[in-house]
Amino acid sequence: MEIAYVAVIILFCLGMYTIITKKNLIKIVIGITIVESSLILLLMLVGYKPGGTAPILDKRYEIVVDPITQALALTTIVIGGSVTAVMLAMVIKLHKRYRTLNIDEIRKLRG
């Protein structure tokens, strides 16, 4: 249980390190998705109870995990997918205009 929180922290910091250090725009988008998936894992961990089943009550169950965090995780996944698609479209437009993906060479970016 506690080791999974450490996994969340490692994934989150790996994503942040990717965002900070990499110069390629596609790699920055990959870093943002890594951060997002670590947050989904955190939501699952917050709602978890030891020995619990999935929140589908077709029989009588003793322990059921929290359904609210699972719904919030679904929201996170959907919004993350939309935002990733928009980010990739922006990257395509930038590459079409500047012919490069290196953020050091994209100089004239304003506003």
């Binding site: 390190y17 999935a54 929140p55 359904p67 699972q70 919004i79 935002v83 928009v86 479209a89 395509i92």
Partner: protein, 240 residues
């Protein structure tokens, strides 16, 4: 000197991330303690009363489409916005990304599995309130049909089978239908997007036509997500 400077910058960034990791460790320790020694009244209420109040055995669906349905409306609007932005941003209709065609093995396999994917997507959407699944998952599975056609044949063939105007029309039907189903709650004298509260007939829990408006909202979201994701993928793959 510049190499030393570069190395120092890299060390600085690594130190920044490690400090951040320590901060997260303290934060998560608090979150973990909060989860163990305090009772969660809202989720206890959903687990004990949710099936009687909404009629859906899938509690995630009852949270998504009944208790927090307004949240889901905003979430579905997000996909509509992303599809609209992509359709505006990448308006080129000519595609030359996949120049070399696949062998006939790939083409025949894709033809063989497309009906099964359609059946699986329809099952996930229509049984979303009584079993694992739902509108979002089923919509993603249905949009795989258009994506597979695009990848194996070409963008032109995929848009000949599913015309872009038809896809936009289906997405609009999903968006408007969701809002109209929500307005039904106001017409019967209750709140916007209320379902179990407005007595739409919860039915016997575990049947297909139970849980009031929930199967119809699932259907609308499934149509919307499938059309929206197909539009997003085809817009991203188009290139001059």
């Amino acid at each position: 000197m510049s190499r030393l400077n570069e190395r120092f910058t890299k060390l600085y960034k690594i130190g920044l991330v490690i400090t951040f990791a320590y901060f997260l460790l303290v934060l998560f320790y608090d979150i973990h303690n909060l989860g163990t020694d305090r009772k969660r009244y809202l989720s206890e209420h959903y687990i004990s009363q949710g099936v009687q109040e909404t009629g859906a055995t899938n509690l995630v669906a009852s949270v998504l489409y009944d208790y927090r349905a307004f949240d889901t409306l905003g979430e579905a609007t997000m996909i509509l916005t992303a599809a609209t932005v992509l359709a505006f941003l990448v308006p080129i209709t000519k595609a030359t990304m996949f120049g070399t065609p696949f062998k006939s093995i790939v083409n025949q396999t894709v033809k063989l599995i497309i009906p099964y994917i359609a059946v699986l997507g329809a099952y996930l959407i229509l049984f979303g309130h009584i079993s694992p699944g739902g509108g979002f998952v089923g919509g993603v599975v249905l949009s795989i049909i258009a994506i597979l056609l695009t990848l194996t044949y070409s963008v032109e063939f995929s848009e000949y089978i599913f015309k872009p105007d038809q896809k936009k029309f289906i997405e609009d039907i999903g968006a408007i239908g969701f809002v109209l189903l929500g307005l039904l709650g106001i017409f019967t004298g209750s709140n916007f997007l209320s379902n179990g509260q407005a007595n739409f007939g919860t039915g016997n829990a575990g049947e297909v036509f139970s849980a009031g408006l929930m199967p119809f909202i699932n259907l609308m979201i499934g149509l919307k997500v499938s059309a929206g994701l197909a539009i997003i993928f085809n817009s991203l793959i188009k290139e001059k």
